[in-house]
């Protein structure tokens, strides 16, 4: 233990220190402790507005650049899927970037020959990073002797991803309509390798999806004409600029073959499986069909699919020991529809799978001394063990034919692939409550077949005696509930003057007045009694309805040792139930523009309706709650900075008012 503490301490000194940055992004104080992933100084944990969360370790490797490890996701739907986080990836990094020019004269391997970290890392500033930066510590050789340097090297940002889902049930806008805007955590870094500059950008969205992008900017390969990068050969380039003395000069086209190493860790499974899906044509010319076949890949392999439907082939990694609520194995699939450079043995591979080996870090010219100078073909050839700990080597190709518009500074061109959950969840991990029961065959009809328990007639209380007094037995019926999609189980809780009726049994264990009957006691004389009925069914969203009050006649006892210090409410009415306001802790907008704020107001006693108010900088906006949710257009704020925003719900006859303060961050125009 002592040794470990010392090591960590030394590391902190080398790393510099992760700052506890204000705002939305950074280690969360809620939930699991910061060092759960074993990387306290590199931890990124971020809650997205819909309630989903990602956590992972992020650093800049001196050669690989941006490297993520221990990537874990928590869905917005929480316990409907699972509690807390589940592992998706053990590690993810760019394992090679092969840049051959079409004229055959030059080839660069920008990762293993140059590297994306160290002195090639570009410092983030307010123009490159609209979110927050993380310090990166590395050894610079620009000083003699080499020294430690710490710069703002990683950018963390929360970005909008647009309309995440929309469902309109009716043929017109009059009926139920469900819409959600998506957001994502974006992690990026910039590296400069001579004239080319690259942004590594990994976008982790609120539906569990991961987009891995490489953007190339900087400058088109420069030089004299005629030279290596500007030739007079139209077949291998594109003419940039005007004709010079009758000569045409063509910027040489080239590949960027980015090969990523994706070390899967589906639910931290000890045994994971790779499944390949191929498609073939069937049927007749008049009625063609497309037939999919799954193959479990039992050993390391290289895939260079060919044939008519080769581009439809896809792969997923699943954990057969981790099942979603439907009993389906959790998996992530690779979505990669990019072309490959077939001229070279390594880059003609669309994807290769191997068992994870620590010494295999690069797709070619491997730099780790444990497997020196090897490439993915060597790894596959030497890997004879059953394929149970899969690493995918994903080749994301981009063939760049320069344009006049690509000239300095070059407009960023992108190449991407995605890792998407497939059966990692039983439903979409942001499914709204109103659609929570839609799983498999069945009708979608929120009006007559709602997923949420809906009370149509309030619970009723009847008495065993004509005059209610101590000893009278009260009986409750649940009232009427929609039962067209399912039947409900009912639970009862009795209230005295709006407070749950509780006691303590002989063993000192707290008890409560539950069940459909209740015997009036002396302490109830002069008080008002109600019962709340909760309708529940696994897979559905519960709801509660309350009976009308039953007044027990008689004088109110004056000395109430158990009474609350003050009774502010008339005994004829139930105490209003608490309400809770939920909204993003920080909302971001641009100076001079109107931002949006989504506010949810919830209560155990029912769905709040009415208005919510937002005050910021002496201005006020009002929103109307629909199904407990309001979308407000914020006032225009001219100055960049941070503003306090007070959200208030004024309450109703049965629901108490509540308030919440959150921040709005106004960015420069």
């Amino acid at each position: 233990m002592t040794r470990r503490a010392t090591a960590v301490t030394a590391l902190v000194a080398l790393l510099g220190v992760m700052l506890a940055l204000p705002g939305t992004i950074g280690p969360s104080r809620a939930g699991a402790s910061d060092d759960d992933l074993g990387c306290p100084d590199q931890l990124v944990e971020h809650d997205l507005p819909n309630g989903a969360s990602w956590r992972l370790c992020a650093r800049i490797h001196p050669v690989q650049g941006l490297r993520l490890e221990s990537v874990e996701f928590r869905p917005a739907t929480g316990n409907r899927e699972y509690t807390g986080y589940r592992r998706v990836l053990d590690a993810l990094h760019l394992a090679q970037l092969n840049v051959p020019y079409d004229d055959g004269v030059t080839v660069y391997d920008d990762i293993t020959d140059y590297g994306f970290g160290g002195d090639h890392l570009v410092t983030q500033n307010a123009d490159t990073c609209l979110g927050q930066t993380r310090p990166v510590t590395y050894v610079t050789s620009l000083t003699a002797p080499p020294s430690v340097k710490t710069v703002a090297g990683i950018c963390l940002d929360e970005v909008a991803t647009g309309l995440a889902f929309h469902s309109r049930e009716w043929g017109t806008d009059a009926g139920p309509r469900f819409a959600g805007q998506g957001t994502a955590l974006e992690i990026s870094s910039l590296s400069k390798v001579s004239w080319y500059e690259y942004q590594q950008k990994i976008t982790l969205d609120d539906q569990g999806g991961i987009d891995i992008g490489l953007g190339a900017t900087g400058d088109v390969a420069p030089g004299n004409a005629p030279g290596v990068f500007f030739t007079e050969q139209p077949a291998t380039g594109w003419e940039l600029g005007p004709t010079v003395d009758g000569h045409h000069y063509y910027a040489t086209s080239h590949w960027h073959s980015a090969i990523y190493r994706v070390d899967f860790g589906i639910d931290a499974g000890a045994e994971q499986r790779v499944e390949q899906w191929d498609y073939a044509a069937g049927g007749t010319a008049a009625n063609p069909t497309l037939l999919g076949t799954a193959t479990t890949k039992t050993n390391a392999f290289v895939a260079s699919p060919s044939g008519e439907h080769a581009r439809l082939t896809w792969w997923r990694v699943l954990n057969a020991d981790s099942l979603n609520r439907d009993g389906h194995a959790r998996s992530y699939e690779i979505v990669n529809d990019n072309p490959v450079d077939i001229a070279r043995p390594v880059t003609r591979v669309q994807v290769a799978f191997t068992n994870a080996a620590a010494c295999q870090q690069y797709a070619s010219y491997n730099l780790d001394p444990g497997c020196p100078d090897q490439d993915i073909l060597d790894y596959v050839a030497g890997d004879t063990a059953p394929l149970t700990d899969p690493v995918a080597w994903v080749n994301v190709g981009f063939h760049h034919v320069d344009r006049d518009e690509d000239q300095s500074p070059m407009h960023t061109h992108w190449q991407h692939f995605q890792l998407l959950p497939r059966d990692f969840f039983a439903q979409g991990p942001a499914t709204p409550d109103a659609r929570s029961c839609i799983n498999g065959p069945g009708l979608i009809d929120s009006s007559s077949l709602p997923c949420i328990a809906t009370n149509t007639t309030a619970p009723k209380v009847s008495a065993s005696t004509s005059t209610i007094a101590a000893g009278t037995e009260l009986s409750a019926t649940p009232g009427t509930w929609n039962e067209s999609r399912t039947t409900w189980d009912f639970d009862y809780l009795w209230f005295r003057d709006g407070e749950p009726i509780t006691g303590v049994d002989d063993d000192g264990v707290p008890t409560a007045a539950t069940g459909p009957t209740y015997v009036v006691g002396p302490e109830d004389v002069g008080r008002s009694l109600t019962v709340k009925v909760t309708a529940s069914r696994p897979g559905y969203v519960s709801a509660t309805a309350e009976s009308a009050a039953v007044q027990v006649p008689g004088p109110t006892p004056t000395a109430q040792p158990t009474a609350e210090p003050t009774h502010q409410h008339d005994h004829d009415h139930a105490v209003p139930a608490a309400t809770v306001i939920e909204a993003a802790a920080v909302t971001r907008t641009r100076a001079g523009r109107r931002g949006r704020l989504v506010v949810h107001v919830t209560s155990l006693a029912g769905v709040p309706t009415g208005r919510v108010l937002v005050h910021v900088r002496g201005k006020r906006v009002v929103g109307r709650l629909v199904a407990g949710r309001a979308v407000l257009r914020l006032p225009v704020l001219q100055q960049p900075g941070r503003y306090r925003m007070r959200i208030s719900y004024p309450g109703s006859a049965t629901l108490a008012p509540s308030q919440r303060v959150v921040m709005v961050r106004v960015l420069r125009r």
């Binding site: 590391l11 000194a13 080398l14 940055l21 990387c39 020959d113 140059y114 590297g115 510590t137 710490t150």
Partner: protein
């Protein structure tokens, strides 16, 4: 005694960084942080053979990179020019916990790029890129600090003019003038192991 020094340096850095806690602050504090770097490097170098040399032939090997995986360890990569071998040494808590050696050519450092450019300039007849510099800038290129330079590792399949590259540590230079022009450096590589320029001939 060494541990105590390390701890104090840490406290200093924590304090400095916490004060500068703004969103886009640079938290560079090279003076304080160099103490633990020195300790890590001293531990790593203890795993090298006594004859290990840097790019200038001095003892101690050439530092290529340090990776900090976040688990409390530091992975130090050093190149031994005396034996032409790369050493990957893992240091944890001041101790070497793993050391591996192989003939691989990781990305060159700025130190090596400058050394290679020095070799490329130290010739009675300037190479074409140096001549192009003189033509454009109006003065001869005589020192690496007249240009900006980076270097890429250069290896071959063991044939041709640069057949030793891979076994030796060779680099290709990318050189830009103060005007931002890149000079054509595709006709040669520098063998840092022997301190010589290898002519690759014209591109076509």
């Amino acid at each position: 005694m060494k541990r105590a020094t390390l701890l104090m340096a840490t406290v200093g850095l924590v304090g400095a960084a916490a004060v500068g806690g703004t969103a886009l602050a640079s938290v560079s504090d090279e003076r304080k942080a160099s103490e633990p770097l020195g300790a890590v490097l001293a531990a790593a170098r203890s795993a090298l053979p006594a004859s290990a040399a840097d790019v200038h032939g001095e003892l101690g090997g050439e530092l290529l990179s340090v990776d900090l995986p976040g688990d409390g360890s530091a992975e130090v990569v050093l190149y031994d020019y005396a034996a032409d071998l790369t050493h990957q040494i893992t240091v944890r808590g001041g101790d070497v916990v793993d050391s591996q050696t192989a003939r691989v050519q990781p990305p060159p450092t700025a130190t090596e790029a400058t050394a290679a450019l020095g070799i490329a300039l130290d010739r009675p007849l300037p190479l074409p890129f140096a001549a192009a510099f003189a033509e454009r800038q109006g003065v001869p290129l005589v020192s690496p600090d007249q240009v900006s330079v980076i270097a890429g590792a250069w290896t071959t399949d063991g044939s041709g003019a640069a057949a030793d590259c891979g076994h030796h540590r060779c680099v290709q230079l990318v050189v830009a003038t103060p005007a931002g022009d890149y000079l054509d450096t595709h006709d040669f590589v520098v063998d840092l192991s022997t301190g010589t320029v290898i002519n690759l001939g014209a591109p076509r």
